[in-house]
């Protein structure tokens, strides 16, 4: 770094770093407690609620927010929206990191994490939707690593291997879309096995379609969100092309997200009509359903429309963050809030205890730190000078 150690340490003392340190100081011991005292030491640990916020956030919300990789790579390499090229690597990195950390949340949650490979190698349960998810997440993690490998190889100055990595771009992109289509929808299909538990307004034969379609706009909105945050906090790591094209590209992505949001909005109504659940809309869960749909799908869609009409990246960004909140809300509704909705003591179960929240925050913090570490070093927001026109 070229500065004395004491001075370097002093530069680390920023408000955000202090916050991160505080979160880790609380959360990491909680992870240790999980592996010494069992899940009951950190979660509500209920037989009625096998999955808590650890998976509701880490897996069910984390995976759609990580749809960035397949969405961007498909747009650029398959459909030929070339001008979005400056955002592809960011999309792939966001996706890869999202999946990696979804697996980390999972490893904390499952009983015997060292057996995580069992569905792949020891015993096959192909009637299980989770079997499919396990395979696809594992394969897709590999695919995304390969997709991102040119950036790593440029950082390592490995010119020859990088050429191979570039060659497989289109094949990996297609593999990525297939795997993503299947496991994004599979996360919804997992809940098809619980018809008596998920509230009928959220339970639908169309759940796989809902989860897949919403992952598309989640991916687009997430690229807008992450690119915005990075342009602000890691501005010096971006090249001029990235910074100059960001606003028009944001509006373009917003347009895509907006169309998909309206499609999703329509599909949700088809779901209600398909099951003829109109009567349920007048109940209390019905009001919550309408709130999700009107305030967290339709409203951000309208904001995005406005942003696109006015060509305002600022408004589009607001709409994107809003839409992301909606996706998270939807996943939490299906996996937690409206799961076992009619059991007594339900509210207590869906609010995580402090210790579990600490684990979630700690893992999210490590996620951000690692992400920043990579963007600081590898050519993600910029083209490497030695490798113009990167893959």
């Amino acid at each position: 770094m070229g500065m004395p150690l004491a001075e370097y340490v002093r530069t680390l003392v920023t408000p955000l770093n202090v916050l991160a340190a505080a979160i880790l100081a609380y959360g990491i011991p909680m992870i240790v407690i999980r592996f010494t005292g069992g899940l009951s030491a950190v979660t509500h640990a209920s037989n009625e609620y096998p999955w808590s916020i650890l998976l509701g956030w880490g897996l069910f919300s984390g995976v759609p927010l990580s749809a960035t990789g397949y969405v961007m790579a498909t747009a650029v390499y398959i459909f030929g929206f070339k001008k979005y090229h400056p955002l592809v690597r960011l999309g792939v990195l966001t996706g890869f990191m999202g999946y990696l950390f979804a697996v980390i949340y999972l490893l904390i949650d499952i009983g015997r994490p060292w057996r995580i490979y069992y569905p792949m190698a020891v015993s096959y349960g192909p009637t299980s939707v989770l079997f499919l998810v396990a395979w696809h997440v594992a394969l897709y993690l590999t695919v995304q690593l390969l997709e991102f490998s040119p950036a790593i190889l440029e950082w390592l100055h490995s010119r020859r291997v990088r050429r191979w990595a570039i060659l497989i771009t289109v094949a990996m992109t297609i593999a990525g879309v297939i795997l993503s289509t299947l496991h994004q929808s599979a996360l919804g299909a997992m809940f098809l096995l619980a018809p008596g538990k998920v509230h009928p307004l959220w339970y639908s034969a169309l759940m796989p379609v809902f989860f897949f379609v919403s992952s598309i706009y989640a991916g687009l909105a997430m690229v807008i969100a992450v690119s915005t945050v990075l342009a602000r906090y890691l501005r010096d790591r971006a090249d001029r092309q990235y910074l100059e094209t960001l606003d028009p590209l944001t509006v373009g992505l917003g347009k895509g997200a907006c169309v998909v949001l309206f499609v999703y909005f329509a599909l949700k109504w088809i779901g209600v009509a398909h099951d003829d659940h109109w009567g349920l809309l007048a109940t209390r869960p019905g009001a919550w359903f309408l709130a999700e749909l009107l305030l967290f799908v339709l409203a951000p869609a309208i904001v995005l429309t406005l942003g696109v009409k006015r060509q305002s990246a600022r408004i589009v960004r607001a709409g994107a963050f809003w839409a992301l909140a909606g996706v998270i809300l939807n996943r939490l509704n299906v996996s937690l809030i409206m799961f076992n909705w009619n059991l007594p003591g339900h509210f207590h179960q869906i609010v995580p205890p402090m210790r579990e929240a600490g684990i979630v925050l700690a893992v999210a913090t490590i996620h951000i730190i690692l992400f920043r570490w990579i963007v600081n070093r590898m050519p993600v927001l910029r083209e490497h000078p030695d490798y113009p026109d990167h893959g």
């Binding site: 010494t36 009625e48 499952i110 069992y118 015993s123 096959y124 299947l182 929808s185 098809l192």
Partner: protein
């Protein structure tokens, strides 16, 4: 069972076996389970709430001693569910449409004909035996707890307190005893024969007979005959089942049917997507070349 093995073939060998697998699925359409499998008939109108079945289950499975003894009636003040250290529990109800006095309901794994837990398990840790028990293998389980999500009866319990060796615990239908020609401990212990062991098809006949003979005593329904494809445990009740906390909003089809449509679309996506996306890619290349 054969539907599952068919899907296994699909998953393991990929698209090449698609046609073979489809053929098997067709043949398996009318599979209705092991013909001579055993079941249990629980008659809620007979049960006196003595908790003798709980005590017998505890002994037979070598479970830890309970916090409150089995002759303690105060446990009825709350509704309990099976846990990792109690595979069966009895709850007390005072239903509004009921006869005089309380109604007791024994709860445990219902040993479904086509179990949701088994179709949920990504490592096939669950087996439906020809005798009728749904058994769990802790050697395969990695602790994802999807089986607990899938079970409509909240039967599988998990020992959350174990840090590194947690497992699912549930009623085993006293499989070893049954295989050796015995009957499950709870049925053996019941002083009033409210829990009766037998071949499932005979028990259905018996249950129907009782309803026919005593129409005033029972509601006209054998719970478990059709629910989620039928369960090994069957119930007769004098009060509407929803008033004693039976889930009455369950489909009659086995739960695996709910995900079958999705799973059968998987090979289609695997085959069609590369073609469709490849086409998009070539169209893009073609336009670029024209320019």
């Amino acid at each position: 069972m054969s539907r599952r093995s068919c899907l296994k073939a699909l998953g393991a060998a990929g698209c090449t076996v698609l046609s073979v697998g489809a053929g098997k699925a067709h043949a398996a359409r009318n599979f209705s389970g092991w013909p001579d499998r055993f079941g249990m008939l629980v008659d809620l109108t007979e049960c006196v709430g003595c908790r003798g079945c709980e005590a017998a289950c505890n002994r037979a499975n070598g479970l830890p001693a309970p916090e409150v003894p089995f002759d303690e009636k105060s446990v009825f003040e709350e509704k309990r569910r099976p846990t990792a250290s109690a595979f069966t529990v009895v709850n007390r109800y005072s239903p509004k449409d009921g006869p005089r006095g309380p109604v007791y309901r024994k709860v445990q794994c219902n040993h479904c004909n086509e179990p949701g837990c088994a179709s949920a398990c990504p490592v096939r840790a669950y087996t439906k035996t020809p005798e009728g028990a749904v058994l769990y293998d802790k050697e395969l389980c990695f602790g994802c707890r999807y089986c607990m999500v899938a079970c409509p009866f909240y039967a599988p319990a998990y020992d959350y307190g174990s840090a590194l060796d947690p497992r699912i615990e549930k009623c085993t239908f006293c499989h070893e005893r049954v295989k050796a020609g015995g009957i499950p401990a709870c049925a053996e212990a019941c002083p009033v024969e409210a829990v009766r062991f037998g071949r499932r098809k005979d028990l259905i006949t018996l249950a129907r007979e009782r309803i026919r003979k005593h129409p005033g005593r029972y509601v006209d329904r054998v719970f478990g005959e059709h629910e989620v494809g039928g369960t090994g445990w069957l119930y007769l009740s004098g009060v509407p089942f929803e008033q004693v906390d039976f889930p009455t909003d369950l489909p009659d089809k086995p739960l695996v049917e709910q995900t079958k449509g999705f799973l059968s679309a998987v090979p289609l996506v695997l085959v069609l997507w590369p073609a469709v996306l490849g086409l998009c890619y070539s169209a893009k290349r073609y336009k670029e070349e024209e320019r």
